[in-house]
């Protein structure tokens, strides 16, 4: 505000500083003067259609809407004069004419803006004797419940979907008193941010569908929390009742998620109390699972781990750790395995290529703050579908495009964006390296004067590509460019080369390179030492172990799993299943006991789920966010860090005499002191490029939006959402024609790992000679990694 011109207005006799040109309501909100409103929202365009915010402006002939009246120097405003109050009362009477008196059965009751303001401005008795309007409800899908008779037509939901979510899926149909907010065609809402219309709706017209009739707002307690899904770390509040989490609402943080939440963050919680939640420790004896007390389970787990280490050597033992685990859990798990003499610790479960790890920065860093993305004027996304990978990052990119930024993509397919990318370069995955190298070459040739010479070997990799040339030209003229690598880049078999070339392109363009973390604590895992080559804080590990991919593909004799589901969470699920079933011993500390896990594990230790554990997540910006456990772990489950502490103690390892999670935090924080974020991945000559010279068919795939972690996979409302992943093979018409497959027909896909049969869908978004199969789904486990070579036949 300091740099902008300010004016002084007078509100109710009080001097208020305002930014020139802003609306009265923005200034009064900042000054803490309350003006009633329904349609106004600071992050939405102004509609001025509810008229609730009418105030008295000196010399104005009639009351003025505070949300649509710009401030002027010396303006005198009264919010509580007789005229203002009379106007507000009049508006309220009209709003209540058609509003049903069903507050006792309305989910919004107790947190309803209309109810609150009716208390202040409404009449006790209605003068309206005519019939009230009623409106037929539309089914908007599994997330948002409708009761449109309650709607007061503020159009916040319409404006949100149009201007923030990027697609106007709702509209105000018909007119006057008969106006109805609906899609009209009845196809529901597809936005990944749809749940926000619930918070925006000032009445009970749009409410949280899964939460419906679960609790009253005044019965619940509210606790701050951090989302456990993507690498954004959206801030939220958990609402609890009788030691159960009832719902999630956003907690405002302008620097991260503003006032919004992605549906994944809001509804992921619906998976918390799923039927396969593990409540008691279990051990497998003679192929049968048996519930046992904690002491027995811990002793058995310790014996298993110790047994593998002493029989086969400590290097036969490995730990696969969920990147959604807390910093504290990841640190202790690493310490435990290292204490047993093994260096095989990793949380990079879905990464295909970690060959650059020795020179990698301390943690995957997005190269800038989330807020800064909105100011970019050109962004190249490499292997990233941010809309589904990190919806709140995508939201900032959308904001940037609104101000004219050019977003370009280099992906193994085209996607459905909620903004117009100026260019979508979709190439078979094996060509991504060559195309990115071509961008680097084109940038270097043009010479932006940044003085960075092209390292040896880049030119040899580069393809001849006009599109790459165009990307380079757009980056060249940008003043604030950025290059971001996403989840698909991380899962790519040549991820290290992509990161190095991404670094190079960003340097040549004169902007930051960034890596977008896939999971809530991908960054935290690096800092906590949950990588095979580094200890907490990035210190070199005395004995460097295997990466997650290597642990799975080589096959170890014993595994420690921390909230990992082998068939869905790992890069190569086919190899993971094989490795775990071949292992002598698998100890799983887990929130859920899924069938696949029960098949392969020997000991199951029940761990507290989301909201049940204190801990810390580090997001893509390197922001540390700690939170408390807000409910008790279900049944006999215990917070993960306590289980690891107990296991360490039973194993008589050093450094496990800890009183609380804060102590673990302090150890990691001390180790990380002075760690500076970075995102430079150096390029080395001889970097591999598989290319696609052989002309075969390539497999490509990404983790669907609601399949990323065990919690979200169990959220039934999300699984039923229109954008949830479906097991299918997708190809362009020409590719399908070559195979002889038709739209909707079955195809047989054979990859290294095995073969699966899936229905084929024709979509021109997929590049030639590529078959797109969503990753992390049970039906495609046998295919192995998300990318690779493939033979396809029509069935």
């Amino acid at each position: 505000m300091s740099e902008q011109e300010t004016v002084t207005i007078e509100v109710d006799g009080r001097a208020v500083e305002a930014v020139k040109g802003e609306m009265v309501i923005a200034a009064t909100d900042r000054a803490g003067i309350h003006i009633p409103r329904f349609c106004y929202h600071k992050h939405l365009p102004i509609a001025a259609n509810c008229r609730m915010c009418l105030v008295d402006v000196e010399k104005a002939p009639k009351p003025m809407p505070a949300c649509a009246t710009a401030v002027a120097d010396g303006m005198k405003i009264t919010t509580d004069s007789q005229r203002a109050i009379a106007a507000q009362r009049g508006v309220m009477e009209f709003l209540l004419i058609n509003h049903p008196l069903d507050c006792p059965i309305c989910d919004q009751g107790g947190e309803c803006e209309l109810q609150d303001l009716a208390l202040g401005f409404g009449r006790g008795v209605s003068r309206f004797t005519e019939g009230k309007r009623s409106v037929e409800d539309e089914d908007l899908g599994p997330l948002v419940a409708t009761e449109m008779t309650r709607c007061i037509h503020c159009t916040r939901c319409v404006r949100f979907l149009d201007t923030v979510a990027g697609k106007k899926e709702l509209g105000g149909m018909f007119r006057g008193e008969r106006t109805e907010i609906k899609t009209y065609v009845g196809e529901g809402i597809r936005s990944e941010l749809s749940g926000n219309v619930i918070d925006l709706c000032p009445v009970g017209a749009l409410t949280n569908k899964p939460f419906r009739f679960r609790a009253r707002s005044w019965e619940m307690l509210s606790f701050p929390a951090v989302s456990p899904h993507d690498g954004v770390g959206s801030n939220m509040e958990l609402h609890t009742l009788r030691d159960r989490i009832m719902r999630v609402v956003p907690r405002e943080n302008e620097a991260i998620n503003q006032t919004w939440l992605a549906d994944r963050d809001r509804y992921g919680i619906e998976g918390l109390y799923s039927e396969d939640r593990l409540e008691r420790p279990m051990i497998k004896e003679g192929g049968q699972w048996r519930e046992v007390p904690w002491e027995i389970a811990l002793r058995r787990a310790a014996e298993s781990l110790r047994g593998v280490a002493s029989h086969f050597g400590p290097e036969a033992l490995g730990a696969l750790l969920a990147p959604t685990a807390t910093l504290e859990e990841l640190y202790l798990a690493g310490q435990l395995v290292r204490g047993l003499g093994s260096g095989n610790v990793d949380h990079r479960l879905r990464e295909g290529d970690t060959s650059d790890q020795a020179e990698a920065p301390p943690f995957p860093y997005m190269g800038q703050r989330i807020e800064e993305l909105a100011d970019k004027d050109a962004v190249l996304l490499v292997g990233a579908y941010t809309r589904h990978e990190q919806p709140m990052i995508n939201h900032r990119l959308r904001q940037a495009t609104n101000s004219g930024a050019a977003v370009m993509t280099l992906n193994p397919r085209r996607f459905e964006w909620n903004f117009e990318p100026v260019l979508e370069h979709a190439v078979a995955p094996g060509r991504m390296v060559a195309e990115l190298a071509a961008v680097a070459c084109a940038l270097a040739k043009g010479g932006k004067g940044k003085g960075a010479d092209l390292p040896d070997g880049v030119e040899a990799l580069a393809a001849k590509s006009e599109t790459a040339q165009r990307i380079a030209e757009r980056l060249k003229v940008a003043e604030r460019p950025a290059v971001l690598a996403g989840n698909m880049a991380a899962g790519h078999p040549e991820a290290a080369t992509l990161r190095a070339l991404g670094t190079l392109v960003a340097e040549l363009a004169g902007g930051p390179f960034g890596v977008l973390a896939e999971a809530a604590n991908t960054a935290g895992g690096w800092l906590a030492g949950a990588v095979p080559h580094r200890l907490a804080g990035g210190a070199e590990a005395p004995l460097s172990g295997l990466s997650a991919r290597e642990m799975v593909e080589r096959g170890l004799r014993g595994y420690l799993l921390l909230n990992v589901e082998p068939e869905a969470d790992l890069w190569n699920p086919a190899a993971a299943r094989q490795a775990l079933s071949n292992a002598d011993s698998v100890v799983a500390i887990t929130v859920y006991a899924g069938d696949a896990l029960k098949e392969s594990a020997d000991v199951l230790l029940p761990m507290g789920g989301f909201g049940e554990t204190a801990g810390t997540f580090v997001n893509s910006e390197g922001r540390w966010q700690s939170f408390r456990g807000v409910t008790s772990p279900l049944g006999e489950a215990r917070p993960g860090w306590k289980i690891l502490r107990a296991l360490g103690t039973v194993l008589e390892l050093e450094g496990f005499e800890l009183d609380n999670a804060e102590e673990v935090y302090r150890i990691v924080a001390a180790a990380c002191e002075g760690v500076a974020p970075g995102s430079r991945y150096p390029f080395h000559k001889g970097a591999a490029s598989a290319g696609s010279a052989s002309g075969g068919t390539e497999l490509a795939g990404a983790v669907p939006i609601y399949s990323g972690d065990p919690l979200v996979r169990r959220s039934q409302p999300l699984q039923h959402a229109a954008i949830a992943g479906q097991a299918e093979a997708v190809a362009a018409a020409e590719t399908a024609g070559r195979i002889g497959a038709t739209d909707g027909g079955m195809v047989r896909l054979e990859a290294e790992g095995g073969a699966v049969e899936l229905p084929l869908r024709i979509d021109e978004a997929i590049p030639a000679d590529t078959i797109w199969v969503p990753a992390a789904l049970r039906e495609r486990v046998d295919l192995g990694p998300p990318f690779g070579r493939l033979t396809v036949t029509a069935v």
């Binding site: 319409v158 149009d162 697609k167 106007k168 899926e169 709702l170 509209g171 105000g172 149909m173 018909f174 007119r175 899609t183 009209y184 065609v185 085209r414 996607f415 459905e416 979509d763 021109e764 978004a765």
Partner: protein, 170 residues
């Protein structure tokens, strides 16, 4: 996942050229193109026996390049668009706004309803006449009460004039 455009299947070449004619009159910006929606919907409605089906509205929105929801807002807002339900061979819009109302429009509406045996918004059983739902000011207040029949203005109405005009409709 790419949006399939129904525009090519639903809109004939002639309709598309008529929409292009209107597109040329407005600036080639999203807002400018959006301004074409009313004449475009009229063209499609005229070619479809006087009413619009959902696919038509969607096709027009896709062709112009605007949000489908906005096109539906337009198609549901204006009384001169009939959405989803087939209409009769003739459309009769009787104004009921203030000047016409003060000059007896309510009585004339009731008279027309009785005469045709249908209410506002309904079509006679023989498919001859649709009495268009509640109609607001049609900008001929000097000749109130008035109505529009198939795009033609009829002013200074009386019961006799209504008999004469409606009886002449085939």
């Amino acid at each position: 996942m790419t949006a399939t455009t129904s525009a090519d299947q639903v809109l004939t070449a002639e309709l598309r050229s008529r929409i292009d004619h209107w597109l040329a009159k407005f600036p080639d910006t999203p807002e400018g193109r959006q301004s074409t929606v009313i004449p475009a919907l009229h063209a499609v409605q005229d070619a479809n026996g006087g009413y619009l089906e959902r696919r038509h509205v969607e096709a027009v929105a896709d062709y112009i390049g605007m949000a489908r929801a906005t096109a539906f807002e337009v198609a549901t807002f204006y009384s001169m668009f009939d959405l989803d339900h087939p209409v009769g061979r003739h459309k009769v819009n009787i104004c009921t706004n203030i000047c016409c109302w003060l000059n007896g429009a309510e009585d004339l509406v009731r008279y027309a309803e009785e005469k045709l045996g249908v209410g506002l918004g309904e079509t006679t059983g023989d498919g001859r006449v649709t009495l268009v739902r509640e109609e607001e000011c049609l900008a001929a207040c000097t000749g109130a009460p008035m109505m529009i029949v198939d795009g033609h203005y009829h002013t200074n109405l009386t019961r006799e004039r209504i008999d004469e005009i409606l009886d002449a409709l085939q």
